[in-house]
């Protein structure tokens, strides 16, 4: 039922560029002797350089560029500045403002008749749409850019757009299309000898395989990507790829390898002052500790990640981390804190118009309200979440929230609604191949069916639940958890060191920034062209992983299931033999008792055990372990009692006037005991002095009502002795247990009618 948002990093363009000499750029910009175009280029480059590392510095240079453009009447400087300002605001999540700025930039480039400029802004606009989660708009921008770039012979830009389109297709889970675009861009980058971008594309192909759950292929592509990033001396790409590899090890439950890769990734991000990358890795490490239920460490890492995201004003990162912290508090039952963190996360996601995350957060809030007993608020949040998931056609999301709704209704005692939502969730969870969701839906359905008396439907759900749960708690995961324990301390220590370094790095960076602002008027020259590429550093969807998990664990489950079946049979044998022995012991004991009253009491006890034992005899002869066919059972019970009590069994007939009827064991056992008492009574007292007669037994179900009738045509009211006090007390007790009502009639023979609704 827990929903985790995993951080996604999108880095534009950096990987293709070598580290510029920022000092010489600052000198170039500050040198009035240089032509304006060179000074504009230098400012443009400085703004570009700082956009990820120091967004405020980037904005500062963009504003310098804009002021310079106004002072020198340079439309090019204005358009470039607007582009950088748009980038800054898009990054902060102010998409409306960003789009306005981008549109202004595009208009200037149009007025200037500069298609290259238009293409550049279209690429940025596309990335903004991507950030906003509007993939179709993003695709449109990238396609327009691609058409322009191809017609202008901008081969590098065009190849970058192929990469971006592939990346969007990847996000849309259109894997074949994504692969097609990636391969096309890879060919172009190979022709251009662009090693760095080849590495990026290979990394993205790795992500496709990761999403499809083919971890071996994914790791192979990640390794190729890593080697190329290394030879291209691109620490950012290496850091991202190492992070992605860490995620795979995490999914596979190899927490040691996962932490090792996260740690290497952090080290590289630190060497580049990339706080975003550090924040993501800290969050991922927090998730590992969360999975291990080490809440203290989980919270510590999430808080560190949050601090960095807040410093970077990275709204998505902040929102995701707030949710992750909410999860930690929720699991610890600190509902007030959980509520506060979820609410903050929801507010940010709403401002970003990230519908999928809004839906997940509403579900998390619903969970908190449900735990607090605030039914109406819980329901409102769940229903709103369900509506969003349905509009997004997110099967797994629908399954998840429908199960929560079902649990909600089950707690409220509305089993029909609970079953309804369970039946909505299960097929969708199956379609999504999500093991955890299947297990949750199956457990809900089991409870709902059981509570509403549909035992025959309940049992398969219980079996499904256990199968899914076993596949989740596979032995490999348990082994990994043990390995993890050993590695935990050492890694925590080294990561603390890494974090200290990060803090020192930040301090150093601030110092540099001061110096740079002072040096901003020194002279120099530099030129670099902005290009766009998406680098995806992200977790894959559980859907594809779990598909693979399912098929790989299927055999294991089957073997285990066969083993369980054998064990179950063995237990059944023992239960049946023990019941037989109990009956034998009671019989032997009664045979040794001299006092007739006491002997009869013990013998009656033996017969009560027999009536229950007979249920077990019937139970295990069938495939279903939950239901008993009552006609067969009552026929055997009545025959046995007649044989036991009648000195001449042929004298008393038994009429079984009923159709076949299946009941669950919880009802069958008390009913059997009641019939045992009633028939015993008739046999003992209704037919004195060799009188012949019949006993009629009938059990019928009409709608929700069960009617039991036990009648004899014996002496009736003339029979004053109506069994032992204990016998009739037992009938009253068991009738009450079944929620029934008893009526007796002694006008003709002795008739007992039992109504259970």
């Amino acid at each position: 039922m827990r929903t985790c948002l995993i951080l996604v990093l999108l880095a534009a363009g950096i990987c293709a560029r070598s580290q510029p000499q920022t000092d010489s750029l600052r000198q170039a910009w500050s040198n009035p002797a240089l032509p304006d175009s060179s000074r504009v280029d230098a400012l443009d480059e400085l703004a570009f350089f700082y956009q990820e590392r120091q967004p405020d510095s980037a904005l500062y240079f963009a504003e310098q560029l804009y002021a310079f453009g106004q002072a020198r009447q340079s439309p090019r400087a204005l358009a470039l500045a607007l582009g950088h300002q748009g980038r800054y605001h898009a990054r902060k999540g102010d998409y409306g403002l960003a789009e306005t700025l981008y549109r202004q930039a595009i208009q200037i480039w149009k007025d200037q008749g500069n298609p290259r400029g238009i293409a550049g802004v279209l690429g940025k606009l596309g990335i903004m749409h991507y950030l906003r989660g509007d993939y179709e708009q993003a695709l449109a921008c990238f396609q327009q850019n691609l058409a322009l770039s191809d017609s202008l012979g901008m081969r590098q830009e065009a190849a970058g757009m192929l990469l971006n389109i592939g990346s969007i297709r990847l996000y849309q889970s259109k894997y074949d299309e994504a692969l097609d675009y990636f391969v096309r861009s890879l060919t172009r980058f190979e022709e251009m000898g662009d090693i760095a971008r080849q590495a990026t594309v290979l990394g993205n192909i790795g992500i496709v395989h990761n999403d499809r759950g083919d971890y071996a292929q994914a790791l192979a592509y990640y390794r190729r990507s890593l080697a190329l990033h290394d030879s291209a001396d691109n620490p950012l790409g290496m850091a991202q790829t190492l992070g992605n590899m860490g995620l795979i090890y995490n999914y596979q439950g190899d927490y040691r390898q996962a932490l090792d890769h996260y740690q290497r990734s952090i080290g590289l991000f630190q060497s580049m002052d990339n706080q975003m990358g550090i924040a993501i890795n800290l969050g991922n490490i927090g998730m590992i500790y969360y999975a291990q239920k080490d809440y203290v460490r989980a919270l510590d890492y999430h808080q560190r990640s949050l601090a960095i995201n807040e410093k970077l004003e990275n709204k998505r990162g902040i929102a995701a981390t707030l949710n992750n912290i909410g999860d930690v508090y929720f699991d610890q039952k600190d509902l007030t804190q959980a509520l506060s963190y979820y609410q903050r996360s929801l507010d940010i996601h709403q401002s970003l118009n990230d519908q999928s995350s809004v839906a997940k957060l509403q579900q998390n809030l619903g969970n908190v309200y449900r735990a607090q007993g605030l039914g109406e608020k819980a329901l409102a949040n769940y229903l709103s979440s369900l509506a969003i998931h349905e509009s997004l056609k997110d099967q797994q999301g629908i399954a998840d929230v429908a199960t929560s709704l079902g649990e909600f209704y089950h707690e409220a005692g509305n089993y029909a609604r609970a079953s309804y939502y369970g039946e909505k969730a299960l097929p969708r969870a199956r379609e999504a191949g999500a093991v955890q969701e299947i297990a949750n839906a199956a457990r809900l359905l089991y409870k709902s069916y059981k509570s509403s008396g549909q035992d025959r439907n309940a049992l398969p759900m219980l079996e499904l639940y256990h199968q899914m749960r076993d596949s989740l708690n596979s032995e490999e995961n348990q082994r990994a958890a043990i390995r993890f324990e050993y590695q935990q301390q050492a890694l925590a220590d080294s990561l603390t060191n890494a974090q200290e370094k990060a803090v020192a790095q930040l301090a150093y960076e601030n110092q540099l920034r001061q110096q740079r602002l002072q040096l901003a008027f020194a002279g120099g020259a530099g030129l670099l062209v902005a290009s766009l590429a998406l680098v995806l550093f992200r977790s894959s969807r559980r859907r594809q992983q779990t598909n693979r998990l399912l098929s790989a664990q299927n055999e294991q489950i089957q073997a285990k299931s066969q083993q369980n079946e054998l064990l179950l049979k063995e237990i059944h044998h023992r239960v049946k033999n023990s019941l037989q022995t109990i009956s034998s012991l009671l019989y032997l004991q009664s045979a040794h008792i001299k006092d007739e009253e006491v002997r009869q009491a013990v013998a009656a006890g033996q017969h009560r055990v027999e009536s229950m034992a007979l249920i077990h005899q019937k139970l295990y002869q069938r495939d279903t372990l939950a239901a008993i066919e009552m006609k067969d059972y009552l026929s055997n019970l009545a025959t046995s009692l007649v044989q036991t009590f009648a000195a001449d069994p042929g004298r008393i007939r038994v009429n079984l006037d009923m159709p076949e009827l299946e009941l669950d064991v919880d009802t069958a056992v008390p009913l059997g005991l009641i019939v045992n008492e009633l028939i015993t009574n008739s046999l003992k007292y209704a037919f004195p002095d060799g009188r012949q007669g019949a006993i009629t037994v009938s059990l019928r179900q009409t709608g929700e009502q069960l009617e039991l009738l036990v009648a004899d045509d014996g002496v009736g009211s003339a029979n004053t002795a109506t069994g032992t006090a204990f016998g009739s007390q037992l009938v009253q007790l068991l009738t009450a247990q079944l929620g029934g009502e008893i009526r007796q009639d002694t006008t003709a023979g002795y008739t007992t009618r039992l109504l259970i609704s």
Binding site: H572, Q580, S584, L585, L588, Q606, S640
Partner: protein, 138 residues
């Protein structure tokens, strides 16, 4: 109503059961219903000797005896000698029994745990009622 008594001599029943309490229970039950007990065996080998010496009219056989031979192995010996009818006592479901065991004439399957009355009905079905002069209870 009453079936004809086929023989004056008391009907003799062999008990093959290795669970002592259950064997004692069966012994007393059969006697209380007016039958003779031809012997109680706790292993297949012991049962085989009793089959030869006592020539029982019916055998109650626990299919799963501890030891080398199972109760099921006795069935051919019992059936070969005068077609001795058998009541198989077992904690197994019908599908767990050796193939071909069920469905033979003179073979009655009585799953454990069974109430005393059902055993009485099965015995009476295979042998007819016990001679009436015996006491009703042990």
């Amino acid at each position: 109503m009453q079936a004809a008594i086929p023989d004056i001599r008391p009907l003799r029943i062999l008990i093959v059961e290795d669970e002592a309490a259950i064997a004692a229970h069966l012994y007393r039950l059969l006697r209380s219903w007016g039958y003779e007990v031809a012997g109680t065996a706790s292993s297949a080998a012991q049962a085989m000797r009793l089959i030869v010496r006592q020539a029982p009219d019916l055998a109650l056989v626990n299919v799963h005896l501890s030891g080398a031979a199972t109760g099921a192995a006795l069935i051919p010996a019992l059936r070969a000698r005068r077609q001795i009818p058998v009541i198989l006592l077992t904690g197994c479901g019908p599908d767990e029994l050796p193939a071909g065991l069920l469905g033979q004439p003179g073979l009655h399957y009585l799953p454990k745990p069974f109430p005393d009355g059902l055993l009485r009905a099965a015995v009476a079905q295979l042998l007819g009622p016990a001679p009436p002069e015996h006491p009703a209870r042990a």
